[in-house]
């Protein structure tokens, strides 16, 4: 029998015993549905994580230098960071590492009171170099950003985030208003475009930026930075840039391995990989569970097929008598198992996609449909059918037609 006819026969046979066919499909369906949904939700989470990182860092084409060794955790701020990254380091990196285009520096601080009129809040405060906006690809929604002239003059000017604008200026135009940062008067000259949530899920818009020279000399009286963003001439060279910058800073800081570095140089790609890795450990476990469900579906197919074979001994005998070879019978039962499993797989994919869309609606994350996972799930369902159909099909092919016809 050719394959098309064998499949047709399988479909007819399966439609004659719908309940059993449905039960055979059920396990594979649930397994494939969870695989599809998990893969899609996992992908959506990964993409969302990437988006958040992108928002936090502005761009992936940079190398980040943070104070503190590799074991340092959390967002470095003026109170937590060791005083090791200085202006000389930034200048040396920009000048001596050939791959580097420019270096943006920040001084990051929490718990500073910001007041306007009788309103008082504590946003995060960033002292930024004038090229920060460019390196990060940030946009100014209203007014102007921090300029080199502001920094040189140590001007008391500030650019505020959207959430801070809402908190301080719910109904007025903030541009030109005077606010007090730790009781030092500053003039608002711009509003940053909204940046959304950072990787931790907290808003990145409850913040304000002032020139880094102003911050270090007039506000905080600290000469060290809490972070540097190094923009590369060739973004693909980040690994080499990390090596070069590390070597330069070790030399400047007088660090000789195996002594631990007092700074950390990473690329956002590496950070993202680390975060999504944590996510994928979880999703690997869940994928394993889904795979087990699919295997159980296979076992269900096998046991119901075995029952089917013993119930259909007479049919097998008849087919053998009228000209079916053992090979034909093997192919018939194997095809039945593969077809029922494949249909279960298709139903599972439909169910999984439905689940993905529901999950996307609930989490408000845009759905990510992984077509490769879906193709893989469809293929896997066929393979499960073939694998678990093999033993029943073998038994069917070896039914003695003489015995079967006598009964």
């Amino acid at each position: 029998m050719n394959i098309g006819r064998t499949i047709g026969l399988a479909l007819r046979t399966l439609s004659r015993n719908r309940l059993r066919s449905f039960l055979m499909m059920l396990g594979v369906m649930i397994g494939v549905a969870s695989l599809t949904a998990l893969a899609s939700v996992g992908e959506a989470t990964k993409q969302e994580t990437m988006r958040r990182f992108k928002r936090m860092l502005g761009t992936f084409d940079v190398v980040i230098v943070n104070p503190g060794g590799p074991s340092t955790r959390g967002m470095p701020s003026l109170t937590s960071a060791p005083p090791v990254l200085k202006q000389g380091d930034a200048e040396a990196i920009a000048k001596e590492v050939a791959l580097v285009k420019q270096v943006a520096v920040t001084q990051f601080a929490f718990d500073v009171d910001v007041k306007y009129g009788d309103r008082s809040v504590s946003p995060s405060i960033m002292g930024i170099s004038p090229n920060w906006t460019e390196v990060r690809g940030e946009e100014i929604a209203l007014g102007e950003g921090i300029t080199a002239a502001d920094n040189d003059a140590m001007a008391r000017v500030a650019v505020i985030g959207e959430d801070l604008r809402k908190a301080l200026f719910p109904a007025e135009d903030p541009i030109g208003r005077q606010i007090r940062i730790a009781d030092v008067p500053f003039q608002v000259k711009g509003v940053l475009a909204p940046r959304g949530m950072g990787p931790g899920g907290a808003s990145m818009d409850f913040t304000l930026a002032i020139p880094v020279a102003t911050a270090s000399r007039r506000l905080f009286n600290r000469d060290y930075y809490t972070g540097m963003m190094v923009q590369l001439r060739d973004p693909t060279q980040s690994d080499r840039a990390i090596t070069d910058i590390t070597a330069l800073l070790r030399e400047r800081h007088g660090i000789v391995p195996p002594a631990e570095d007092d700074f950390t140089v990473t690329s956002p790609k590496a950070q993202v990989a680390r975060v999504t890795d944590v996510g994928s450990t979880l999703s690997k476990v869940m994928l394993g569970v889904a795979a087990i469900a699919t295997l159980i579906g296979g076992v269900v197919i096998m046991s119901l097929m075995l029952i089917s074979v013993s119930e259909r001994r007479r049919e097998i005998g008849v087919r053998r008598a009228v000209g079916a070879s053992q090979r034909d019978i093997l192919a018939q039962f194997l095809t039945e198992a593969a077809v029922v499993s494949f249909i279960g797989g298709l139903a599972g994919i439909a169910l999984g996609l439905g689940g993905t869309l529901v999950a996307a609606a609930l989490t408000k994350l845009p759905p990510a449909i992984l077509w490769s996972a879906i193709g893989g799930a469809a293929l896997m369902s066929i393979l499960v059918g073939l694998l678990f159909g093999l033993q029943p099909a073998w038994r069917a092919a070896n039914v003695d037609p003489i015995q079967a016809l006598r009964s």
Partner: protein
């Protein structure tokens, strides 16, 4: 058509002792003959039929079907022979449940490698008197009708040889008689028919009777045969056979 010589078939019991079912059987059946193989249960007639039907292979001896020695054929080749040259009719009909009459008739065509000719299946059903029953599920049909569906199935690939194993055994006498008439008619059309039975009344329809006893041919004799058939003729033929 059929040439068996020194055919033997020995089964092995669970404890390893050999049980001979056929000891030494030789005969020839020409094309177009209508022969019954008769014997008591346990005589070896079923073993003989299984070998003639290429469902089983002899332990020794040779079996030539249509000039071809098929005794040593592989499963694949024997399946091909069954498909093209042999039509089976069984005592218990052996139709597939939850399947229509026409679908049952088509089954042999599934294994030819060619297209399935629904028209032909319907035509054969018409010929066996079931033209209006093609789309009926077999469970909706009477015993006699089911056996006629089975005969139609046996004819689907137009085999030269029909093997019938007690075809009237599960039927009442009227239905049995109509089935025998149908077989007689198929014989008249030129088909070779070999019928296994223990019933002398049925045997009387054939032209020749081979009697099997203890795995050997006990008698091989001509029968008057009946091309018309009827209760009176059946009674006299069964008297003559006894």
């Amino acid at each position: 058509m059929i040439e068996v010589s020194h055919l033997a078939r020995t089964y092995t019991r669970g404890d390893g002792t050999p049980v001979p079912a056929l000891r030494d059987v030789s005969f020839t059946i020409g094309k177009g003959e209508f022969v019954t193989i008769r014997g008591a249960s346990g005589s070896g007639k079923s073993s003989l039929l299984n070998i003639l039907g290429c469902l089983d292979t002899p332990t020794s001896g040779s079996y030539r079907l249509d000039g071809e020695d098929v005794s040593g054929y592989t499963d694949q080749r024997r399946s091909h022979i069954r498909n093209r040259k042999i039509g089976f009719v069984f005592q218990s009909f052996n139709l597939l449940p939850r399947t229509t009459a026409a679908e049952n008739v088509e089954i042999p065509a599934l294994y030819t490698g060619g297209p399935v000719d629904r028209e032909r299946a319907l035509a054969i059903l018409g010929k066996v008197g079931l033209g209006g029953r093609a789309e009926h599920y077999v469970t909706e049909l009477s015993g006699g009708e089911q056996q006629r569906v089975a005969i139609a199935r046996a004819l689907m690939n137009d085999p030269p040889l029909l093997l019938a194993d007690e075809p009237t055994g599960n039927l009442d006498s009227a239905a049995g008689e109509s089935v025998m008439k149908l077989l007689t008619e198929l014989h008249r059309e030129g088909r070779t028919i070999v019928l296994v039975t223990h019933d002398e009344g049925v045997a009387a329809y054939a032209h020749r009777e081979i009697l099997i006893r203890d795995g050997l041919v006990a008698a091989d004799r001509p029968q008057p045969g009946r091309d018309t058939g009827g209760p009176a003729a059946a009674a006299s033929a069964s008297g003559a056979g006894a």
